[in-house]
Symmetry: C2
Subunit: 488 residues, 2 copies
């Protein structure tokens, strides 16, 4: 037997096995790895990577020795056994993001994850140089999650053809052979996922979407499942993957609610790591009605992925579903004609703050008209807006919370404004387009200090002295202010 | 018989009759005037004005001769007959405001009334000098309607005692003799109504409200009716009166829905001129639910008087009630701690414009903290905010509409923004916190010209050339812009 491979926790162990190149391994070969540490067993499906190479990936989540053995309907890939040693995580690697404390997120090692997402739906379908530019932009941005589609996008400002596709082209050159995945496509795609991981950015992988001229939104049930299991087999071992079953699922008319339920169950069954799972809606926008949401109360949904402009409702959705609320789409900063793409930066930043004090997490997107037809929300490239630096400022404030997360605290001031915080310890109140000249705080027992935060100018001014009980403090009578109160 | 009195149309004819000073004329005397022109008869109740003087007021609405005769349970006031000649209206006098074209308002002579209201709830309960200052401020303002209470107000920033009250003080000095109205109070109050009339400002007279330490919100049914009929007898002849049955009626716990219905019927029965009638709600604020509105669909309600911050709903309420929608309270510009009183001026102006393109009419109020405790919304005084001049600019734009009013036109541009206008003639689109860089218009047959309006900077920039059919125009990618398109 070989010397056990050494792999750091939450990195990827990969077993490459040689096998037949003939036939249709995508359809006909089932390879499963059984990874065991003590009594604990994780099963991961393998995948055919082209050229006669079959791969099995595994992300160990606990240091120590893991043993594995394969099972396969091809004898030459069956019963391959071995071991690997999982070393402690590399510095900066915290594992996959999980739900924490009902409404929040943390990495597997317990490190808090304050989700600050952005959106570049089709960035991996662009020319290589543009993808590299997007990565550089992301590295300089505050964003720690990005929504990105597997399939290319056919939509306004999203018309260009990608270099390759998730499925092989049909032999006759017309359309696709949906029985064969395209390893070259996925090799490129997963390289981007890995690069995001090294930047500390979660890849919120959108598995289906309705902006489709190729047929990927109208595949058969069998193809859908093969596709999903292939994606899981390739990507689940990447610690920074989140599963987004769809963007605007309710526009995908070829799928029924039973299909979505089934897709969630496929993710539940085949993802050994139970990465975060959700699904993003279209029609609730502009109403106070959640009937067009997919029911986030279903047990396989880990968190709410919401499209809605009324971000003040985040706190209500938390109570309704008892899960984290991520408002992945609240419209985008930009100047498109379209209402979903022309928020002023002030309004974009306001929506981030309102979501935050509602106990939710907001997502960004940017849609400035571009002479080269490169819009961040579609293709990536460079960020042109004024909101990202303010969102970075908000992220800094969140990360400065001494411990834990912040939840709605009702009305800590007499301003009728909602506050988020931790009772007796920390309160963050946001005033938005309100401009109170004063506020009376009603604080539980304790001694506190306060900071006035200008969320637009991005400065923090400590207030003189300490606070206790009921105290009235002066505020500057201008919009976009916040107040941070912390116990001493 | 005397020479007939001469009175201009929509001015007040007043008959003063001497009668007994003894007893309780408020309770025991019923004086009615029957005014007849041709086959048309209007009946108006008279009132006791103290000092043995009984008055009967009449506002003629048609030039020519009117004959009258009184009836009274006191023989000396019964059967007094006479005539008056109604002359054409004085310049600038257009008569009472009526509902026009289902969703709008016009004066009796057909002149359009674009309702641009403000709010000084207790201004007539303030010292004389302050009332005079309020009138001067109103004269320089864009406002053509003011919400004002008959009763004094006991509320935050509204604690001072007025000089007098609608009822006489009780003989023992404790509380009030609710069987006796106070003519001196009403003489002062109606003088203010008349002064507003001369300024072209409608007095939206609030008959009941819940902010009460005196007992005016908890009177008996008999007293309520006597009070209402006395107010009608004195004030209905003022052309600029609107009846607002209550402010925040649903806080007045001593009244039932049947009481409000009855009060509306009293107004219907005794107001010969059928001035506009509505009632203002509290609880719907912050919901999309109209169940806490008084049902504006009831036949005696002439228009919807709404408190709500989601002014974008105006168009829906129009459709629901098929009446004009006046959002009398959408929060106020100011810097109070209270959320209802600390809108930024930008947000106040935005709400006016959003209401306008929803086919409704918005109301203003101002609540800046004041060292002298004089806040416009409560007591009047001077206007300190930045919204009134922008509201004046909006009023100018409305008055420049060549004819008629503007109604929701759906989406005339590709921006998902609502427009108000007249099909094929006039379109006003407002972008609010949106900042599109372009818009594609889809115009019905015809040739049009367009103006770009900066609603905050208050300038109007004509676009070069003419438009027809589907045309894309450049917009400046900044918030608070509007687009006006008019047929040539």
């Amino acid at each position: 037997m070989m010397q056990p491979a050494q792999i750091h926790c939450w990195d990827i162990f990969e077993l490459a096995l040689a096998g037949p190149e003939t036939g249709n391994p995508f359809r006909d070969v089932r390879l499963v790895g059984r990874f065991q540490q003590g009594a604990r067993v994780l099963e991961a499906e393998g995948f055919y990577d082209g050229g006669g190479v079959y791969r099995l990936r595994f992300m160990p989540d606990t240091p120590g020795e893991w043993r594995y053995v394969t099972s396969c309907n091809l004898p030459e890939l069956d019963g391959v056994a071995g071991a690997l040693t999982c070393l402690p995580a590399r510095p900066g690697v915290h594992g996959p993001v999980r739900v924490a404390d009902t409404y929040h997120f943390a990495y597997a090692d317990g490190t808090r994850h304050f989700s600050i997402g952005t959106t570049c739906y089709a960035w991996t379908s662009q020319p290589e140089a543009l993808q590299e530019q997007t990565l550089r932009s992301l590295a300089d941005s505050p964003f720690n999650k990005i929504r990105m589609c597997v399939f290319p996008k056919d939509y306004t400002y999203n018309k260009n053809e990608p270099d390759d596709y998730a499925f092989e082209r049909a032999a006759n050159g017309e359309g696709f052979d949906f029985s064969r995945l395209n390893p070259v496509f996925f090799q490129r795609f997963e390289r981007r996922v890995a690069q995001l991981g090294e930047l500390g950015i979660e890849a919120d992988v959108i598995l289906f979407h309705p902006y489709d001229r190729w047929g990927f939104s109208r595949m058969t049930a069998e193809t859908d499942e093969r596709y999903l299991r292939y994606v899981i087999a390739r990507l689940a071992a990447f610690r920074n993957v989140w599963w987004s079953l769809a963007n605007e699922y309710d526009i995908l008319k070829a799928k029924t609610m039973a299909d979505w339920d089934r897709f969630f169950r496929i993710l539940q069954t085949y993802d050994p790591y139970q990465h975060l799972r959700s699904i993003h809606n279209w029609q609730a926008q502009g109403t106070y009605d959640t009937r067009t949401f997919y029911d986030h109360g279903k047990p396989w949904v880990t968190h709410c992925s919401v499209q809605h402009g009324e971000v003040e409702l985040a706190a209500q959705w938390r109570e309704l579903y008892r899960k984290p609320v991520v408002i992945d789409e609240c419209c985008y900063e930009g100047n498109l004609p379209n209402a979903w793409g022309n928020l002023s930066p002030e309004e974009m930043v306001r929506r981030f703050w309102e979501t935050t004090v509602g106990g939710g997490y907001c997502g960004h997107g940017e849609t400035y008209l571009d002479g080269q037809d490169v819009i961040w929300w579609a293709k990536g490239g460079v960020l042109k807006g004024k909101s990202p630096q303010r969102i970075a400022f908000l992220r800094r404030i969140l990360e400065e919370i001494p411990q834990g997360w912040i939840d709605p605290q009702g009305r800590v001031t007499n301003n009728n404004q909602n506050s988020a915080g931790q009772r007796g310890r920390y309160y963050l109140t946001y005033f938005g387009c309100r401009q109170p000249g004063e506020a009376t705080l009603n604080l539980p027992e304790g001694i506190y200090r306060a900071d006035l935060i200008d969320t637009w100018e991005m400065n923090i001014t400590p207030l003189q002295g300490t606070l206790r009980g009921s105290e009235t403090i002066a505020l500057p009578s201008r919009p976009y202010m916040a107040l941070r109160v912390q116990s001493i």
